[in-house]
């Protein structure tokens, strides 16, 4: 057993080059405690909620299921199985369009009479004892198996299957596990509330993940506008050697390529992964889900979703079943205000606009942000004056204006010479652009064109 050391809240502040400071607007929802959503009449479980292969339904119409039962799985190497989030009867398969534009089949479940809900569900999800001694934790292969069977995916938004990330690779030893508690997207507070109200499962999950990948060191990174969360976590981590590091609040601090250099000191290669520098990064919500999956055998059936923005009447942080519709969550948050203009899956920097409020919530849905007409004040696009503000803002050290204008004109060689494919579409450039050029959209278009060519 390791020597127990108090998890220090490091006063050291470091940051990365580039980035922006958009108004965080987290005040809207940050003081709203996690609230359990009442069981909806029906959920629709999408058979693809992750990066990877589509699942096959393992249940038929009219089957009776209990919350947590497997409803879809796949034999493909990159995939994550899906589970019933409520108990009830399976209805006929239907399709839904996810916010990213993919149309996928869903397994609808009509709610039965017996449900775990309210305070009982909350206690079941986050309550009880969470061990923090490494001796008490299961073997790495059992951890991995638990994670895979629970269908865990990255909950920060990318939704990459977690068991693949945690799989041991003898050629690539892992030194450090980074737990990402930055939540740098403006408006969103789901991770903050989780760290504040349920720090213990996050810590336990971090220990489990580190044990699975064989990491020697665990660092939790949190932005300095969430000090209370950092304090709650360091209290929960008292008997462990987990380091809790407070980093400067700046968008996109929560991006792996920005966070890893700040916490570990080495840059992630432009075409590589944190794995290449011996690091695995998991989000705090994913860590909590790992603990729940491995120690209690509970699959990913619920997640915390922030419903926020000036376009909803009462912003909230909701513990919602996967498959509930965006519209229902907005109604629980008091509904849309009359000047609501744009409903986003995720935050305002990288979120997708929603065309249909019946869209089901997935494992990667970190929030619903509703912006008003006032938030979206638009100016007319002018010519690029080459002011270079996008160059200063780019956290990846690119020249966004060159790439975007090359893409607009179809100058593909030029776009590649300026490293179009290195762009991660964080939106800093377009946020800063005084000429209001849709830089990110142009770059996206250029990437799509080059990928198709």
């Amino acid at each position: 057993m390791r020597v127990a050391q108090p998890g220090p809240v490091s006063p050291r502040r470091r940051s990365f080059a580039g980035g922006i400071h958009p108004p965080s607007s987290k005040r809207l929802a940050r003081d709203q405690p996690i609230e359990v959503v009442p069981t909806p009449k029906q959920v629709r479980i999408p058979l693809l909620q992750h990066v990877g292969a589509l699942c096959e339904a393992t249940v038929k119409s009219r089957d009776e299921v209990v919350a947590g039962d497997l409803v879809g799985s796949s034999d493909a190497p990159v995939s994550a199985c899906v589970h019933a989030s409520i108990s009830g009867r399976v209805a006929k398969e239907s399709a839904a369009t996810l916010p990213n534009g993919r149309r996928v089949p869903t397994v609808p479940i009509k709610a039965g009479d017996e449900q775990l809900e309210g305070q009982a569900l909350l206690d079941d999800t986050f309550g009880g004892e969470w061990p923090t001694l490494r001796l008490d934790l299961p073997r790495p292969d059992l951890i991995l198996q638990g994670v895979r069977e629970a269908g865990l995916v990255g909950m920060g938004g990318a939704a990459f299957p977690t068991h693949i990330k945690l799989a041991l690779n003898p050629d690539r030893p892992i030194d450090t596990l980074v737990v990402n508690g930055c939540e740098c997207e403006p408006y969103l507070t789901a991770d903050y509330r989780l760290m504040l109200e349920a720090p213990r499962p996050v810590i336990t999950g971090a220990l489990l993940a580190a044990s699975a990948v064989g990491a020697r060191r665990i660092i939790i990174g949190i932005e300095d506008d969430k000090r209370q969360a950092a304090e709650a976590l360091s209290k929960a981590a008292e008997s462990t050697d987990i380091e809790i590091r407070v980093v400067r609040t700046k968008y996109p601090q929560g991006s792996e390529r920005q966070l890893v250099p700040v916490l570990v000191g080495s840059n992630v290669p432009a075409n590589g992964l944190p794995l290449d520098v011996g690091v695995v990064v998991v989000n705090v919500a994913t860590a909590a889900a790992i603990a729940r999956a491995v120690l209690r055998g509970k699959p990913m059936t619920h997640r915390i979703v922030t419903v926020t923005g000036r376009g909803v009447v009462q912003p909230k942080n909701l513990l919602a079943p996967i498959g509930i519709s965006y519209g229902e969550l907005i109604e629980i948050a008091g509904g849309l205000t009359p000047d609501a203009a744009r409903v986003l899956a995720g935050g305002p920097m990288m979120g997708f606009t929603l065309g249909d409020l019946d869209t089901p919530v997935t494992k990667g849905t970190s929030g619903i942000t509703v912006l008003t007409r006032e938030d979206l004040q638009q100016f007319e696009e002018t010519s690029c004056v080459r002011c270079g503000l996008c160059v200063d803002a780019c956290p990846l050290n690119l020249v966004p204006t060159r790439i975007a204008l090359a893409a607009r004109k179809g100058a593909w060689t030029l776009a590649e010479r300026y490293h179009i494919n290195a762009c991660m579409e964080c939106g800093c450039c377009a946020y800063q652009c005084p000429a209001q050029i849709p830089l990110v959209q142009l770059i996206r278009m250029g990437k799509a064109h080059l990928a198709a060519a």
């Binding site: 405690p33 996690i34 609230e35 359990v36 959503v37 009442p38 809900e117 309210g118 909350l122 109200e197 390529r257 840059n267 992630v268 290669p269 432009a270 519209g327 109604e331 629980i332 849309l336 203009a341 744009r342 986003l344 305002p348 920097m349 990288m350 997708f352 606009t353 929603l354 409020l357 912006l371 979206l376 004040q377 100016f379 002018t382 010519s383 004056v385 080459r386 002011c387 270079g388 503000l389 160059v391 200063d392 956290p395 050290n397 690119l398 020249v399 060159r402 010479r417 490293h419 290195a422 579409e425 377009a430 946020y431 800063q432 652009c433 005084p434 000429a435 849709p438 990110v440 959209q441």
Partner: protein, 338 residues
């Protein structure tokens, strides 16, 4: 602490929650509030206030007239050329006003009215519109106009044009500092006079302190980059220092080089024109260094007392090359060639 909502909240609406007014658009959905192209240009005008005040104080109504003529002409030409090209006149972005003010401030007080008009037509028409308008031009429009009239109306803009013996404003009876230095005849004003601006010269260039105040504002507002002016002044100082070592008889000390002529004015207000300067910090440093060196070299070795106009035009021509040579490496190194 944590409460469960067990009943659905009362909803104000009965129908489906989809509002007809909901928009669909790509991310990001926020944009830096108030930061527009117009705001960048207005910032330049605000930064020019100290310079304009100093010009007004030194040259009185000559300054008002000259700047006024240039601004009105530039706006007119901008409107005409926009209509001609079939685009909506883009007067509200204020870029033509900036060109007009800088052009006016770069002229001598005595230049006849038609000099300002011709310079404006060339600046906006040939410096900017022929390339496709705002953001497309290679050369700084104001400098294109200034160079044109400098050559076309040599007598109205030459060294003698600045001086009028017996003028009521005492400053107008002195030669400009750089002419005085060139001819080795007159006395170059002291450093303090040069710094404050108590010297003859083109309308906006005389006061170093006014340029510094405005320039500092621009850089702090991030409406101009700091790299270009810093590197330009540093390079001018280095080259002037070397020149002084090699030619001890040189009439200007390094500090006099820095404080006389249009060097400081151009470092903050002309070299920082975003359109005609490089995009990256490294490029801006190279650009500024080239400018500073060229200004001093032209001052020392050409027939012109001042070298800013030609230095700017020459370096503008190299900007595409500088941009190409300073493509930054993405964070974490270059992606492998597919």
């Amino acid at each position: 602490m944590v409460e469960a909502t067990n009943k659905a909240p009362a909803t104000p609406r009965k129908e489906a929650p989809i509002e007809p007014g909901l928009q669909v658009a790509p991310s990001p959905h926020l944009s830096s509030s108030g930061l527009t192209t117009q705001r960048l240009m207005v910032d330049v005008l605000i930064a020019l206030v100290p310079v304009m005040s100093m010009a007004l104080f030194l040259f009185r109504w000559f300054a008002v007239l000259q700047v006024g003529i240039c601004v009105v002409s530039c706006l007119t030409v901008e409107a005409i050329t926009s209509l001609w090209r079939g685009t909506r006149p883009s007067l509200q972005d204020a870029s033509a006003v900036v060109t007009g003010v800088i052009l006016g401030l770069s002229l001598p007080w005595s230049a006849p009215w038609y000099v300002g008009v011709v310079a404006s037509v060339v600046a906006i028409g040939f410096g900017k519109a022929v390339f496709g308008g705002l953001g497309q031009n290679i050369f700084n429009p104001a400098m294109v106009g200034r160079a044109f009239v400098m050559i076309s109306f040599a007598s109205s803009l030459g060294a003698t044009a600045y001086v009028r013996s017996g003028a009521t404003l005492e400053i107008l009876t002195q030669a400009t500092p750089l002419t005085a230095a060139k001819e080795l005849s007159g006395n170059v004003p002291g450093l303090w006079a040069l710094f404050v601006g108590n010297a003859n010269g083109s309308l906006g260039e005389t006061s170093v302190v006014a340029c510094l105040v405005g320039g500092l504002y621009l850089c702090l507002r991030r409406s101009a980059v700091w790299q270009t002016p810093v590197s330009m002044l540093a390079s001018a100082a280095v080259v002037a220092g070397i020149a002084n070592l090699l030619m001890p008889e040189s009439p200007l000390t390094v500090l006099q080089h820095l404080t006389s002529g249009a060097l400081v004015f151009s470092a903050f207000f002309i070299a920082t024109d975003p359109v005609t300067s490089p995009l990256t910090g490294r490029g801006q440093v190279i650009f500024g260094a080239g400018l500073g060196a060229l200004v001093v070299v032209i001052r020392l070795f050409s027939n012109y007392p001042e070298g800013v106009v030609f230095a700017v035009l020459l370096m503008n021509a190299v900007v595409p090359l500088i941009n190409r040579g300073t493509i930054p490496k993405p964070l974490g190194g270059l992606p492998a060639k597919a």
